[in-house]
Subunit: 213 residues, 2 copies
Amino acid sequence: MSVAKTLDTQLNVFAEFHPKLPPSAVSVPYLFLANIHPSLQWNVLDQVRSPRLVVLDTMNLWIRNNLEEVKRLLRRVDGIIINDQEVRMLTGETNLIRAGRAVLALGPRMVVLKKGEHGALVFHGDEVVPLPAFPLTNVVDPTGAGDSFAGGFMGYLASRGHRLTTGLLRRAVAHGVITSSFCCEDFSLERLKTVTKGEFGARYEAYRRLLRV
Amino acid sequence: MSVAKTLDTQLNVFAEFHPKLPPSAVSVPYLFLANIHPSLQWNVLDQVRSPRLVVLDTMNLWIRNNLEEVKRLLRRVDGIIINDQEVRMLTGETNLIRAGRAVLALGPRMVVLKKGEHGALVFHGDEVVPLPAFPLTNVVDPTGAGDSFAGGFMGYLASRGHRLTTGLLRRAVAHGVITSSFCCEDFSLERLKTVTKGEFGARYEAYRRLLRV
């Protein structure tokens, strides 16, 4: 379950979607542009008034069919969250360390490279931080793991992100890792609906301890 | 370069090899049974007088052709170092966390599961510790990465291993990770021949810092 294979993509209602943000959303300081056609992401970004931090998500479909639009966006955002397959497609690099650095060269000041069960790599300036996934015996359904990772990551930055340092990014990624680990433990959002702040904190603390070498 | 493909194996001089340990070797406290035919490993183990810790290495060839001998050895050793492909072959489990636990059930009290560029998982009792690889931009040659990993791991245990705890194993694996990272930076043993204690310590410290979340 560690490699996603796209058999077919039907945009359905998103094919003719033209998002218009409600007034409450136009002044958000932390903006996550979830995966959708890059021209729609551009359009949403245009509607938000001077966000403090903008992070992009994308997918193989847009990298293949709308590469220039994805690259144009990369020059306008602070960071991108991207998986191993996508980053190889975007940069043509097989070595993931080189691939992550190649994305930095396209514009953003940070790259979070997700590797599923193998965790993530964070690129920020010259620094590369590898973080493992939280070890799970029962992966019930990885659907939504990427979005819940992004939610944990952005949520942490929004609560603590006064200044973007590598240490802050590292902890934000760790929050993404723990959030997505709960996501995978059941179908859909079932586990995320029941997880308590105490359970989250206990697992985060266990993860910290595991990494103390 | 993260997946090894065996095209052919010629045992050559090892086909008729019957190792006879010199007196200096029969009383080593820390014994690493490097990869060779399991009957030779068994024979070497027989020659060593009450070693304090015995760790096994093996490979796909013996798991395929001499499975019972490998399993017999597993009941007699303290630990095994095994990679992701081999552990799936040995246990039939795809999920690496389940696979590592399945190896524990075969006898040893610790399993170090190597995942190449994705680091390693350590299994000890109920604990599972994930540790990433040290991020390298230039992987020149991964040949010998497994053996140098084992060397760093065993060397650390031999210098500190009074009592086998999960914390000790975690740090031993971290020493294996750093040793093998130097190995990959040049062909053969070239980089390991030049690395200084200071360079090793600096990289270990950098690795520790990277994991502080």
